[in-house]
Every structure is written in structure tokens, then in C-alpha cells.
Symmetry: C2
Subunit: 390 residues, 2 copies
């Protein structure tokens, strides 16, 4: 098995990109990653995307994007695991390089979500839940995560007002980080009061507890570590030292414990074992904060904090940029935006910038080992990667 | 790199399965493959599916199916490359086993196409073409393949009537084979006159030149060859000895030569090289006959026949079950049906049955090396696998 390095990363400025098509957004991000690595061709392409069929009426996406990037006849394939599609694309590309099939492999993610109206986007996103048992009965993701939030508050016996504060601290912290990220969709700083008084979406989740609808893409270039040492000297070396992936019941109601993200726990355990790293050794992380409650549950399933203590840690500032374990230095899904298929790759971009010491104003003080956790649906799938600065 | 064996295969009876849901169709095929191998668990799952979002409103498919197969928390991911999704799922599963990530890996394909009406199915399928430049201008796949057919007839200066005969021979041959396949959707034998007098769809392609709309699934179990030799002794051994994948411009109009399937040529070259096999050494093949003209062009791109001679070979009976190079002994997409994501895996099932000598009435007389070619759109992607009886 060959060791794998990340030698280039790129993304476009995320947002509501009415004037730019799916293929142009991709090409912009892909060319930035190729420029960053200093390559003018790739050997194979993996594209993470959740639902180009429902969002823009285009399947067969990897071939289209290989074509528009001028890279035919390279092998190209799309990878889907709902909102974990980007992380899964990285995992497939890592397999490709580790196996020795190809040397210069692009892993990428994209979603163009604004070309349908709000109801269309809600429908498309809901297809990541169980259509026959959850969606049919009217559940959409804000509702499902609100159920997780209510179960969490009840299980851990947290007073309603304190719990509301915990959730708000996650949103405020991620917007504070996103304020420093020029590629983030919503760079506005928020106050605790902004979050606590925002429009109710699904009790207790309010507007600023939810990640937005976003158009965006991100890409990364992988190659064997040996080759990276010889040829890619533009940047400090970054290696992928652990990968893990797992599933859980797709329907939330089938789980023993709504508040425990088993797929994240299992995927993380695999990644920690491969990387030979303990949770305490992880310096910083990008995690899947599709809703504020998600970040709290994820930081527990990753072993950063004990069950029921993730919200307290956020309130104490432990996960802030200057805290003990910075989480979502990029702004996370909350502030940076959440073009679902692209999110997992943009997490990798943030890890790489931090590990290189190139994260500018949002540089974490200690960044030698970083972790990315990407999740599909209400946790029906999860993928975890650990990257290290060499 | 570990050598990889196929130790189990299964599919359901394909057709218009109004009474069975997507998840139930999958579980039926998956359990048959597990029974065939003699395993009660799998380590990871790859699902080829083109558009569950547009066909049944369900993305996040691999997690759903891992759940319904009772296999959580194994890693599971969906792979999409339009009608080549099944072949691409096999390729990802092969990478997984070859790398040593997992030992017992299920590769599968599925599509539930009948739950939308005819216009809905035509729209969903057309998303495998270039939405902005082909579909927007009214092109759908029968039209695109009709353009290939007309270009082929003109380029190779074939008289219209003789060309019509060549196409008809492909349909008649595949239905003769499908008549012997109990899992095929349309087992009726056809005559040349049936095909030549059928309803016109897109000149020169008539009804029986086109593959149908189908509900169906197929699955296969992969494992390392060493493990297969020790533990899987129910059936003769079958190994995957070559894999290749490639892309071409997604839009037909961007190609230099409409009649030459470059992605198939490039993918086949990779697979031949890895397998150390010449086209003449391939005993039989399953190829992507979404339309009769496709089978003709594919057999040329694979190097079985010279350019312009594929139709003549079909007329001469070379590709018939008793011919020199049997093609689509299963009945092909034409007769067996074409649930798009499942097709590439069902091709592998047919190869395995033939290589084991378990294909019953449709057993080819010589079956030591078999090739499967699976194609997306009008050839925007292609994946080729070579399997061998050991």
C-alpha cells in the first residue's frame, strides 16, 4: 500500500452563483487545485455530488466534468453518499493512489443547489433520508435534527435555556471563523442574541442553527507520498494517514439512541487505528455542522469530549479558534456554506491550508494533525480522514 | 496488489416490478449472491445506480441498502457513471479488495425505473447526455444513437437495406439468447421481419433496436483470490484479471468520429494490458447493446472486428451463441432488460456463470476468458473487465 499525499487544493468563492453553471464552478475549483499543485494534467478523477439529477437535471457528472476540464479520456466516476459524497470521493481517490493504479488523482466535490426553488431544494435534500418512512410522513432534515436536539437535551438533563446557549455558541463560533474565510458564503459575525432570537425553523433549531443552501465546488490533488517528496516542493508536505467509513440505519427512528452518531464513531475508530493516533492527539478538526446540534454530537462521537459534554465544551470556548481543540476553523457548513457534495473536499482544503500554515488570519496555533468528519443524512453514513503535516 | 476472485453472483427476475420496492429488489439480488458464495456477512458495499433521485426520490442509496441488508455499520457507497454505474461499482470493489482494505466485498447495481411514467423515464435517462447542449435542444438517446447509426452507414458505405439487416440480426440474436435466460425481461424470440417492421423510433432505429425500461438488481461477491482458493469451494474459481475505465466527450457532437467509441477502445486497452490478453483470446463477451447499433460499434472498439465490419460479423453469425465469438449470451440489454445501474453487474453474473460452466441452455462451448463492456450515455464513459476461469 503506497502512502498518499495531498499536493494541491482549490475551491471557488461559495454562495448563490446565479450567473455560473455547474460545469464552470467545477472547472474554476479544479484549475485552482491544479495550479496549487503545479500540474497540467490528471490521471483520474473522482467527483462527489449528491444529486445533480434533482438539482440541475444532469447525471453522468464525472464524464461531463472530465470533458470540461479537458482531461478526456481519463477514468472518471461520481461518488454519492448524500452530504458525505465529498469525503467518499476522497476515500476512493486515496484507494486509487494507494493501490498504485494512478499517480496524479483529482478528488473533488460539487453541488449547484440554487437552480431549483426552495421547495425543490428541500425535496432534493430530503432524498438523503428514508423516502418511504421518513419523507413520506413529512420529515425533512431540520425536523430530524430537531428530534436529535430534543433527545439530547432530555437524555443529558440540560436546562432548556442552557441548551439553547450551547447551540448558539456553536453558531457564533463558526461565523467568527467564517468571517476570516474569504471563500465563505456568509461572513457576517453573529451574536448569541442573533442566534437565540432568529426565526424558528424546527424547535429548538432556529435559522442560524441551520447550514444554508449553497452553490460551490472544491478539489484536491493526490499523489503517492514518494512522488510528492521528489516533485511537489511548492508547499510543505501533507499526508493522508487515516481513512474510515461507516453506515448506520438511514432512518433516525430505527436507532437505539438518537443522540449517538454510531457511523461517525465507527469511521473514526478505523481512521484512528490506521493513523495510529488518539483523539487527544488531533490538533484541530473540520466536522459536519449541518445543524448546530450536529457539531455537538459529532465532537462526542469522535472522542473529543464525553457524551453530553460537547455543548459545554463549545460554551467553554474549547472548540474556538484559540481554544484547546479548534473545530471548523473554516467557518464550517454553517458560515462557509454547504453545497452538499463539495463539503467533504472543502474540509480537506481547510486541513491542508492549516497543516501548511497557510490559513492566514484563521491559522490555528498548533496544526500538525488534523481530522475531517463528513456525514450523510442524519448520520446514515460517515467518513473520517486524518491528515498530517510532515 | 492482491488478485481478486468473484465467489458469488445473484440477480432477481428483471421486468416491470410494480409490486416490489427498490430496497426489496436489491435485497433479493444481494441475498442470492450471498447464498451463492455461502457468506452471511459482507465487509463493504458498492452500489451502482444512475438516478434513484429522479426515478424514486431516494438518494443516499448505499446506506439505505446496507441497512436493509442488515449489514450496518459497514462502509457503503454509491457509484454513478450513468449506464456504466454497475461496471464502475465493480471497479471500486475490485480496488478495495486488491488494496487489502476488506476481504468480502459486495459490488451491486440497481435501478427501479417503472415508478415514473414514460416521460419521466425519458427525462431521467436523458440526464446521461449533456443537459445544456444536447437535451436542451431536444435530443434523447434513441435520437443520439440514430445519429451514430446514420453516420456509420454513411462512413462505411453500406446499402440501407443491408444495414437494416445487420441491425436486425443483432436484435434477433440477442432475443434468441434471452429466450434461454429465465431472468430476462423479454424472452420472446424475434424474426428479422419482426425487427424490420416494428414501429419506427428514430430512423433507422425501430422498437426492437432499442433496449427496454426495466426494474432490476444484480450483485456479486468479491474476495482475495488466495482466500477464495481456501474457503470458497462451492464453484469453480473465477478471477478478475483486467480492469479499464475511460471517458470521452459527453456530447456526441464534440467527437471527431461519431462511429468510433474511443472510451471503450481506451478502457479495453487498459484491461487487455493488465490481463495480458489479446482480443482474439477472449472467448465470449457481454457488451452494452442499449441499441443494436451500439453492439456493432462496441465489438469494433473492443478489437473483435475491424471498423465497419461489426455488422457483417453479426449477419454472418460470428457473435451468435454457437458462433466464433459469442456476444451477449445473456440476451444483452435488448432482451434481458436494462435497469441502467444494474446492467454492468448482471454482465459480470453472466460471465461468471459461463466461466463456471453453469449457464445451462445458453452455455457457450468455449468459455475460459470472458470480457464485459459497460458504457454510459452515448459512450461518454466506458468500463471494461476481463474475467478468467482458473
Amino acid at each position: 500500500m503506497r502512502d498518499v499525499a495531498v499536493v494541491g487544493v482549490g475551491m471557488n468563492k461559495w454562495g448563490e452563483l446565479w450567473g455560473t453553471s455547474l460545469r464552470d464552478i467545477f472547472v474554476e475549483a479544479a484549475l485552482k487545485a491544479m495550479d496549487d499543485a503545479g500540474v497540467d494534467r490528471i490521471d483520474s478523477l473522482y467527483v462527489g455530488c449528491m444529486s445533480p439529477g434533482l438539482f440541475v437535471g444532469q447525471e453522468h457528472l464525472a464524464s461531463l466534468l472530465a470533458d470540461y476540464l479537458g482531461q478526456c479520456p481519463i477514468p472518471a466516476v461520481r461518488v454519492e453518499s448524500a452530504c458525505a459524497s465529498g469525503g467518499m470521493a476522497l476515500r476512493m481517490g486515496w484507494m486509487d493512489v494507494a493501490l498504485g493504479l494512478h499517480d496524479i488523482v483529482m478528488v473533488s466535490g460539487i453541488e449547484k443547489m440554487l437552480d431549483v426553488d426552495g421547495a425543490g431544494a428541500t425535496y432534493a435534500l430530503a432524498t438523503a433520508a428514508d423516502q418511504e418512512f421518513e419523507c413520506y410522513n413529512g420529515a425533512t432534515f431540520p425536523g430530524l435534527y430537531a428530534m436529535i436536539a430534543n433527545a439530547y437535551q432530555k437524555k443529558h438533563r440540560i436546562a432548556a435555556e442552557r441548551f439553547r446557549d450551547q447551540l448558539a455558541h456553536v453558531a457564533v463560533k463558526n461565523h467568527a471563523n467564517g468571517h476570516l474565510n474569504p471563500n465563505a458564503q456568509y461572513r457576517a459575525k453573529l451574536t448569541l442574541d442573533d442566534v437565540k432570537n432568529a426565526t424558528m425553523v424546527a424547535d429548538p433549531l432556529r435559522l442560524y442553527d441551520c447550514s444554508p443552501i449553497t452553490d460551490g465546488a472544491a478539489a484536491a490533488i493526490l499523489c503517492p507520498l514518494d512522488l510528492a517528496k521528489k516533485k511537489f516542493k511548492n508547499h510543505p508536505l501533507v499526508a493522508v494517514i487515516g481513512t474510515g467509513a461507516a453506515t448506520d440505519t438511514i432512518a433516525l427512528h430505527d436507532r437505539e439512541d438518537l443522540t449517538w452518531l454510531r457511523s461517525t464513531e465507527v469511521a473514526a475508530r478505523q481512521a484512528y487505528r490506521m493513523a495510529n493516533v488518539e483523539p487527544t492527539q488531533v490538533d484541530f478538526a473540520e466536522v459536519h455542522d449541518c445543524f448546530t446540534i450536529a457539531e455537538i454530537c459529532v465532537t462526542e462521537a469522535l472522542g473529543f469530549f464525553a457524551a453530553g459534554k460537547g455543548g459545554e465544551a463549545a460554551m467553554a470556548g474549547d472548540t474556538a479558534l484559540k481554544g484547546k481543540k479548534p473545530v471548523n476553523t473554516s467557518g464550517g457548513l454553517k458560515s462557509k456554506g454547504h453545497p452538499v457534495g463539495a463539503t467533504g473536499i472543502a474540509q480537506i482544503l481547510e486541513l491542508v491550508l492549516q497543516l501548511r500554515g497557510e490559513a492566514g488570519e484563521r491559522q490555528a496555533s498548533k496544526a500538525r494533525i488534523g481530522l475531517a468528519q463528513n456525514m450523510g443524512g442524519s448520520g446514515g453514513s460517515a467518513v473520517v480522514h486524518i491528515l498530517k503535516a510532515l
